[in-house]
Subunit: 282 residues, 2 copies
């Protein structure tokens, strides 16, 4: 199998590692506009060789794993070049804009819109790890628009990676993911900011931070280059979640101001049942 991975960072590099493990005969070509990333990916053995966008013409599988603003233009160019048998998978965190952008493309049926719910707060080829996708969810959007044979091919690959599949329309995907992923990143970044601002005058503050703080603020290490375009593409949905989150925080603050600690207790108790839900995730 002739595989091209465009964007050879955490997501693309981790795909490369697992694909090589399951398809040892395949040739994996890395394409990236960052030369250092390509060199690093070669050095780490993520890819067999580096290539250019033109090379996708005879590809069996193209995986696009780049920031979502770059992804749309790139997908169009790839679809313009590929043959009839090529499966193109985009792994970006927003799905509505990219699906709309290629809705009427002649090669729309070669494209599978996907979003692996997997990752870490790290980025670049050094962040790529084996089995990043094992036991994780792959969300596939508007599957009916992909050619049946290419759907089958994609499912076989995802099965090898150990993923469970969920189907969803692109609009619902973007709306829901704003709650369970995009909002978490903003809450974490702003928590980090709030504490860092304080720390400027209070140098010892981080001596007092424990694993709870580290866990809550972990996502504030994430890459701005990756996340800014996500926030931009999913702006309306995220603004809705932010409005609700801020409103809940203001309400909690009011309860504390009114010394209504019985209600503070109940607020936490009501949220506690998230335990049972989280047990299914980790």
């Amino acid at each position: 199998m002739n595989i091209h991975i465009i964007g050879i960072g955490l997501i693309g590099g981790s795909f490369a590692l697992d694909l090589k493990a399951f398809y040892p005969q395949s040739k994996i070509v890395g394409i990236d506009n960052c030369k250092e990333h390509l060199e690093k990916a070669m050095e780490l053995g993520l890819i067999d060789e580096s290539g250019e966008l033109e090379d996708v013409v005879d590809s069996d599988l193209v995986i696009i794993a780049v920031p979502v603003d770059v992804g749309i233009g790139l997908l169009k160019k790839v679809l313009d070049k590929i043959g009839d048998h090529t499966l193109v998978i985009d792994a970006g965190s927003t799905k509505e804009k990219i699906c709309t952008a290629v809705a009427t493309h002649l090669k729309r049926r070669n494209f599978l819109a996907a979003h692996p719910i997997s990752g870490t707060e790290f980025s670049g080829p050094e962040a790529a790890i084996s089995e990043l996708y094992r036991n994780k969810t792959m969300i596939i959007c508007e599957v009916e628009k992909t050619a049946f044979k290419l759907q089958e091919k994609a499912l076989e690959i995802f099965r090898h990676l150990g993923m469970r599949i969920r189907y969803m329309d692109a609009k619902s995907h973007d709306k829901h993911i704003a709650y369970v992923s995009h909002l978490s990143h903003i809450s974490s970044f702003m928590l980090g900011k709030t504490v860092l601002e304080k720390e400027r005058n209070e140098r010892d503050i981080f001596d007092m931070a424990g694993s709870g703080f580290a866990s809550t603020v972990r996502l504030a290490k994430s890459s701005p280059a990756m996340w800014t375009p996500i926030f931009q593409q999913n702006r309306e949905n995220i603004l809705e979640t932010l409005t609700e989150y801020i409103s809940n925080l203001n309400q909690f603050k009011s309860l504390m101001e009114e010394n209504n600690f019985e209600e503070v207790y109940r607020e936490m108790e009501k949220t506690n049942h998230i335990k049972s839900i989280l047990n299914g995730i980790n």
Copy 2:
């Protein structure tokens, strides 16, 4: 050594496990107003026997590890009963109110105000684990008010547990801990609430949640019985942190509303250096 641990949950139970390991000849007596906790603690081998508050009269070491609202009254009662050689350590997450409450007590010099920066989101004796305190910070407040010999005794114990020590006045402790611990809990609880509210109508939403969400919302599993009194005792400091956090979130929201994604990028980039700080914690 005759050891009494009042409150035999996550914190008290974990102290019991390590103290038994380092002082195998010691007798560890558990005191708890919850009978099931005492029975469970016996069953798990955390304590040698269960006892009553009266028993502290001949104790060498009393550790108080109960919700902070109960802790103040309990500490007074304990100080009223103990002998001259007894060291009493309170492990609560707020320190100003408890220090003020016993400031003029005749046995003030038998008391060491401490806060181990360690724990998990679980509670009760089943949550107790060995080495919970290894490589963690123990904050000691107004150490000068504790008898020198008892300070030495406490430091020996904390050294056995593998802890690093930081000294601080109680007022600063409460102010700083609001940022790096109490605020994280509220941000997490309210994030959990926001998503749960949404989930009521969107049953599939948690299928889309990954490890990032799980990490950010982990603290929302914490015990309301433990945290409500902490929020109550540290109300003013927490309200200050909440105000700043909400203001930062509102500012981020405004940037998104104004489509100012260059600034959104910079906001995240500025906060990214929390990486280097977190490396010191985990």
